[in-house]
Amino acid sequence: MFDAAMDVLPVTKPMTVHKLSVAVKGRVLSAEIRIPKVTTPGLPPLVALHGISRKAKSIADAFSIPCDAKGQILITPHFSRKQWRHFQQIGTYRPDRAILTLLDLVQQMGFASTEQVDIFGYSGGAQLAHRFAMLYPQRVAKLHLAAAGWYCLPDLKQAFPMGLAPSTKRLRANVPALAHNQLRNYLDLKLRVYVGAEDRHRDDALRKNPEVDDVQGRHRLARARHYCDAFRIAATARGITPDLTLTEIPNCVHSFSDCARAGLTTLVCNS
């Protein structure tokens, strides 16, 4: 069911680059691993997830300098459009299992311990990042969500996928129940949320329907604020002091490159 392959590219500066791939139930997930010249012992690798434009290389390039400076290994998966059309959703597809398999491979090849990783996701990648963390909170050292289009709320009254109440649809994997069981551990995570301060446009990529608009807000900025409020309320209700920050990046719309130029990647690595 699983297989793996690796190509080692020539050493590039500033980081050594390796390419890996794993296959889970016939779907291949490729990834690039960038190793700093000097790695900091004990530092979890950073897994950086692209959005629906799937610009994994742009993400990798943008994180290279801060990760190298910090001594942090960088893992950038690439979900192909052909095989992972809705990669940001966990249910019909299992991108979570592909990520776990990739993390296993990284550890088996001796690149890094991947018992825990920092996870960053931009836009659709942030959707996958928080859904992954809701299922496997113990694997996440720090969760960085940037400009997610919408969120799965830690709310037991909203039906999945908006919240964690049972879905009205029949699911292959009962993700809401699984995430519900992990909710307390999820709310205990270190969560860093980022969004462009001008990310107020209702572009084509944004999920727009009355339900999401009414509950989470009409744009990504509002939805990020709403998510942070919901996270705080859910954590506090369980006696957990949330370790959460929301950073609104000045002068940025919905653009990873703009956010990166404005210091997003450095913020992530230094948080």
Binding site: R97, Y136, Q138, R139, L178, N181, Q182
Partner: protein, 348 residues
């Protein structure tokens, strides 16, 4: 016999903690034989067990005239034999493929009579002491283990406990947990042990590692002490969580005694119950409830049939998990979360 080369004999899996080089002599007096004493025997005739399980993990075909080393022990296996830790110099019974020589008292009617072994004597060390599995057990741990434990119990032999245990262990490994897989009761054999190893468990052990060739007819405090030894060892080795299978069904006397003992139950965080059908599910859940136990999920042969799953869930209100779901890291992880597991400190 002092010059006898014991290494030419086929040592059974249940002797795996004992170095054959320690065997130096034979005590021919069998009247004082204790459970766990190592017996050198000669195969007289081949019966139900045509092969012996070796410590290397492979079975070895038996032939009349073979020399074998088996601990004396009892056996409780409704699908095979019930036997006692008693020897007869004229001929005794091989009660289990993984080891165990004794006297069969009853057998399943679908099973052939046991392979017969002539006990030649008890194996002694250089100083003349009889080698006994109990002397080669893991050391007991000074403080009680705190490792979370998912205890897998079932209706009977072959209800799907080992399949469920191995699948859950693999799912937990995929989810990133260092998982110990342990067998708390039963008779030493490599089938379950190998299944646990194959599942990718970080640590595998059974009651044999706590010095018992079988737990049948062992006093409850000794069995509990053995479980504590295994859990302590798992914790020492840095495991985050343990999955422990208890042999046979919930009516088997040692398993029943463990489940009925409030102090023993403090070791087990949650329970998974394996059974073959919905009626067995309802009965098993009711029986467990008498001890205040409510399983977090049902599994086993039952889970192969969607209709049986629906019946069982309706009758018990407990979710049924298939083997595929136990293998799924998200499902395994949710069971782990129910135990309150936290990442263990790194082992020294």
């Amino acid at each position: 016999m002092d010059s006898f080369d014991f290494k030419t004999a086929k040592w059974c899996f249940a002797t795996r903690r004992i170095d054959p080089n320690l065997a130096r002599g034979l005590c021919h007096d069998l009247s004082m034989t204790m459970p766990g004493d190592l017996i050198l025997g000669r195969v007289m005739s081949i019966g139900n067990h045509r092969r012996i399980q070796l410590p290397t993990g492979r079975p070895s075909m038996l032939y009349a005239g073979d020399l074998v080393v088996l601990p004396c022990g009892a056996r409780y296996a409704p699908d095979q034999f019930e036997g006692l830790a008693e020897l007869d110099t004229a001929g005794s019974d091989m009660l289990a493929g993984g080891g165990c020589i004794g006297r069969m008292v009853q057998r399943n009617e679908r099973i052939k009579p046991p392979t017969r072994i002539q006990p030649l004597g008890r194996i002694t060390s250089q100083n003349g002491m009889v080698l006994n599995t109990g002397d080669f057990a893991l050391s007991a741990h000074a403080t009680p283990a705190k490792i979370p434990v998912i205890c897998v119990v079932g209706t009977s032999m072959n209800s799907g406990k080992t399949t469920a245990t191995a699948a859950l262990a693999h799912g937990l490994k995929q989810a990133g947990w260092k998982t110990a897989v342990l067998k708390g009761t039963g008779t030493g054999a490599f089938g379950d042990y190998n299944a646990y190893v194959d599942a990718g468990a970080s640590y595998v052990a059974d009651f044999t590692d706590a010095g018992m060739v079988t737990t049948y007819l062992e006093p409850l405090p000794r069995i509990i002490a053995g479980i504590d030894t295994l859990l302590g060892e798992a914790e020492t080795r840095g495991c985050d969580i343990a999955v422990m299978e208890l042999a046979d069904g919930v009516f088997q006397q040692e398993t029943a005694a463990l489940l009925a003992d409030p102090e023993a139950r403090t070791r087990f965080s949650k329970y998974l119950f394996a059974c073959a059908d919905a009626v067995a599910a309802a009965g098993g859940v009711a029986e467990l409830a008498r001890n205040g136990i409510r399983p977090i999920a049902l599994t086993g042969m039952l889970s192969c049939s969607p209709m049986a799953v629906d019946e069982a869930q309706a009758a018990t209100g407990i979710q049924v998990l298939t083997k595929g779901q136990l293998l799924d890291p998200a499902y395994a992880n949710t069971l782990a979360a129910r135990t309150g597991v936290r990442r263990a400190p790194q082992a020294a």
